[in-house]
Subunit: 150 residues, 2 copies
DNA sequence: ATGGATGCAAAGCCTTTGCAAGCTT
DNA sequence: AAGCTTGCAAAGGCTTTGCATCCAT
């Protein structure tokens, strides 16, 4: 890893190593805050900006990419060999991943038909997970959804 | 429309009518600022917050939904009967829509297999559009990509 | 008259950046 | 030594909210 960065003109530092290691040890969809907390547990002298900048760096060198699930918080996904999509539960905010290799193939073709050269794909589904649906069916009453504005 | 809103407990006002009309007259992927500018051209007394709140209202009543393309700006897409995905050109920022009815079917099935009840789908592809690819091929030199951090 | 709607201005929040000091190479 | 990194704090940029006032019902 150190060598990998060196070839790109970056240096390795204790903080950077800690941040990189922490990021890759954590699951997917990591936010800056989450990574910051995690890093802090091992070294509480690391600054927020450093974590942020290194997360960006991880993206720049192609090891991760940003994910937006629409809650205003940027999350980072490790880039894996297997393309995957996300199922976001709007109730408990959990995320389920699923393989989208075939879909990506179809997408690439559709894009190509329009002269578009695809680079990355984002496939996300919002809905309710199994557990939450069960809860809603039993615990909650059946009145209509909220419509109000603040 | 007025009746539609009334049934949901909302009132119709001149501003609201103007904002709704403007939104539906504009294309897809409208941002608050864009809508605000558009509305202002017809009535420069309308406040930003009003536009913002009404855009949110349009979403609440199910006529539009937020779209995040990762540039930090929330855009709003009119909800149409035909599900569509987006091809975002990272060069010229243009957006091309494409039909994803079949894909949505596959997605719904995949989600169902995991006990997930899908609600909405987001299918986005980032890449380079035809025009920009042509430009890059001719105009630009071939040196390697940027890797630098600010 | 009543409760939602509006406008303005001010918070909020997360993301970025400026700088001086500290470390790799 | 030279330049990338780091930390802190401050600045940005877009999204939300507080409030007093106004207006549709």
């Amino acid at each position: 890893m150190k060598e990998f960065l060196k070839t790109k003109g970056f240096k390795m530092t204790p903080q950077r190593e800690l941040i990189f290691r922490s990021f890759f040890e954590m699951g997917e969809h990591v936010s800056v805050d989450e990574l910051y907390d995690r890093v802090r547990r091992e070294d509480n002298s690391v600054g927020y900006a450093t974590v942020w900048r290194n997360l960006k760096l991880i993206c720049r060198v192609g090891l991760a990419e940003e994910v937006n699930i629409g809650d205003g918080i940027t999350r980072y996904d490790r880039v894996t060999k297997v393309p995957h999509g996300h199922l976001f539960c709007t109730e408990c905010k959990s995320v389920i991943e699923f393989n989208v290799e075939q879909l990506v193939g179809v997408l690439a073709q559709k894009a190509g038909e329009r002269g578009f050269t695809p680079d990355s794909f984002k496939i996300e589904v919002q809905g309710v997970c199994e557990g939450c649906r069960a809860l809603k069916a039993s615990g909650s009453n059946g009145h209509s959804e909220e419509t109000g504005l603040p």
